[in-house]
């Protein structure tokens, strides 16, 4: 019985998210276009997330390099370190870790902000002011996350490379030119394109889930916390599901 209820709740939630996504695509093209709010959200979502994403990416590149070195050294393949770390960062670690950080920072912030607006009737106030709150609040945020997360992924990759370069130089001497040469020689379009493509989907999922949870907040201030929390949980889960699908599709297309 409890299992049935749980399954029903999950299906209802999935249906709600699907309807919300459908509404996004319907509203996206219709005027009025909230361009200034979209730009403001790009700034808030992209620019203000950069320090956290940058620090995490730097540490990620450094740690991955330090931890990979002993294994590669065992096989006498230390010279492969920049290439191996580069491909790992671009294909998987950069997009997924950046998306998870964004799910935590941006997803929770959108869920809490819209949830708080919902319970204090600010969304209703917007509607009676003749503004479509879905377009003004949800469409702008979803578009901003969809565009900003891939940009953050590219920047995170670049910063992680620098962290890796420093990691390589802890127990050896490699010039920056040689390091980057070794990284980019091994990187191909089939590494970069699927990685950037899935980042758009990660960003879209973070935006949709954050806005959906915020818009359907209930039970007052307690509900705001629940919305923020479940925005992070559901979008993190979706990131892994999208990643799994992306790997399968890449494999089917022979891009591995």
């Amino acid at each position: 019985m409890a299992l049935n209820k749980g399954i029903t709740r999950i299906l209802e939630e999935a249906g709600g998210i699907a309807r919300f996504t459908g509404r996004f695509f319907r509203e996206w093209f219709r005027p009025r276009y909230e361009f200034s709010e979209f730009l403001r959200q790009c700034y808030l979502i992209g620019y203000t997330s950069l320090p956290l994403v940058g620090i995490t990416a730097f540490i990620m590149g450094l740690v991955l390099t330090i931890q990979s070195r002993p294994t590669l050294a065992e096989f006498g393949a230390e010279s492969w370190l920049p290439a191996m770390v580069g491909v790992s960062i671009v294909r998987e670690i950069g997009p997924v870790i950046t998306a998870l950080i964004c799910a935590g920072k941006i997803g929770s912030s959108i869920g809490a902000e819209l949830g708080s607006m919902k319970v204090t009737e600010q969304i209703d106030a917007m509607e009676v002011s003749g503004t479509n709150p879905f377009k003004y609040l949800a469409v702008t945020r979803i578009l901003a996350t969809t565009l900003m997360v891939p940009l953050l992924v590219v920047l995170a990759d670049a910063i992680a490379f620098y962290g890796s370069y420093l990691g390589v130089n802890i127990k050896g001497v490699t010039s920056m030119h040689l390091f980057y040469n070794q990284v980019f020689v091994k990187l191909t379009y089939s590494d970069v394109i699927p990685s950037i493509s899935k980042s758009f989907f990660f960003g879209f999922a973070i935006g949709v889930i954050g806005c959906y949870k915020g818009f359907y907040t209930s039970k007052g201030t307690e509900g705001v916390g629940v919305s923020a929390n479940s925005a992070v949980v559901v979008s993190s889960l979706l990131i892994f599901i999208i990643d799994l699908l992306a790997v399968q599709i890449t494999d089917l297309l022979g891009l591995t």
């Binding site: 902000e113 009737e121 600010q122 209703d124 106030a125 917007m126 009676v128 503004t131 479509n132």
Partner: protein, 259 residues
């Protein structure tokens, strides 16, 4: 004169010399098995303050959210300026909402915007192309009308409950609405501030010649602001009359509000 639900809408309309601006007939709204509005009928005449009196949870807020189009009734007629609200498209609803202001119980000021931005928001949304000076003049005039010009660059979090209510009213007035819907305007305020808001509601009625629906269970507010009162009990318009008429009623359901 105290009338009950049985009096027909047409009789109410013809018995008044003023234009009817809101017409509600046989309105029904339920949430699951909970019937909140059950065949509710009432009218609002031009220039009148109509107070809807009822206990907490009796459906008063649901009623005005149906009037403004935030909730869709299950059945019945709900005409604002002659147009049936449930039948309006979203564009037509937006047009109607220019003429109908709404003061929320929680004030619903946008937290992330200053008082000035809160007041400018409805002006910008309705595409009225005005210069910066004109917009500033309108904003300052609206704040002067509620006695708070000094708050223009403050954030909502810096305002007291009474100030927030006044700023909310200034935002409601900024598009010069013909009808104002007040959702429990004095709830959560101390008695002195609540009386100030009551007087402000009367001042707004006189200065802007607005018609208002005021949701309340604060009897001082009802006494000070109402021209006419309808009592909402069990989802129906149980009784209707002036404050003085209702206060003399012997009916237990009406007396409970006056004791």
């Amino acid at each position: 004169m105290i009338t009950s639900q049985g009096s027909s809408l047409l009789n109410t309309v013809t018995s008044s010399g003023k234009d009817v601006v809101i017409e509600i007939a046989h309105l029904k709204k339920a949430f699951g098995s909970n019937r909140v509005l059950n065949d509710f009928s009432a009218t609002l005449h031009a220039g009148e303050n109509l107070v809807v009196l009822g206990k907490s949870g009796s459906g008063k807020s649901v009623l005005i959210k149906c009037i403004i189009g935030l909730l869709k009734p299950d059945a019945g007629v709900l005409r604002v300026f002659g147009e049936n609200v449930p039948d309006l498209s979203s564009e037509e609803l937006d047009q109607m909402r220019v003429k109908v202001g709404f003061l929320f119980q929680s004030n619903a000021l946008y937290d992330s915007m200053s008082v000035r931005q809160n007041l400018e928001f409805p002006l910008r949304r309705h595409g009225k192309s005005k210069s910066k000076e004109e917009v500033n003049h309108i904003v300052m005039e609206a704040l002067n009308n509620v006695g708070l010009p000094e708050t223009v660059d403050m954030m909502p979090e810096e305002l007291s409950g009474g100030m927030r209510k006044r700023v909310g009213l200034a935002r409601t007035l900024i598009l010069n609405p013909e009808i104002i819907l007040y959702d429990e305007p004095t709830t959560g305020l101390d008695p002195a501030t609540a009386r100030e808001i009551d007087h402000l509601i009367r001042d707004v009625q006189e200065k802007y010649n607005t018609s208002s629906v005021i949701i309340s269970h604060d009897m001082n507010c009802v006494k000070l602001t109402s021209n006419r009162v309808v009592v909402l009990v069990d989802g129906i318009c149980y009784a209707e009359g002036t404050y003085a008429e209702l206060s003399k009623s012997e009916d237990r359901n009406i007396r409970q509000f006056f004791e």
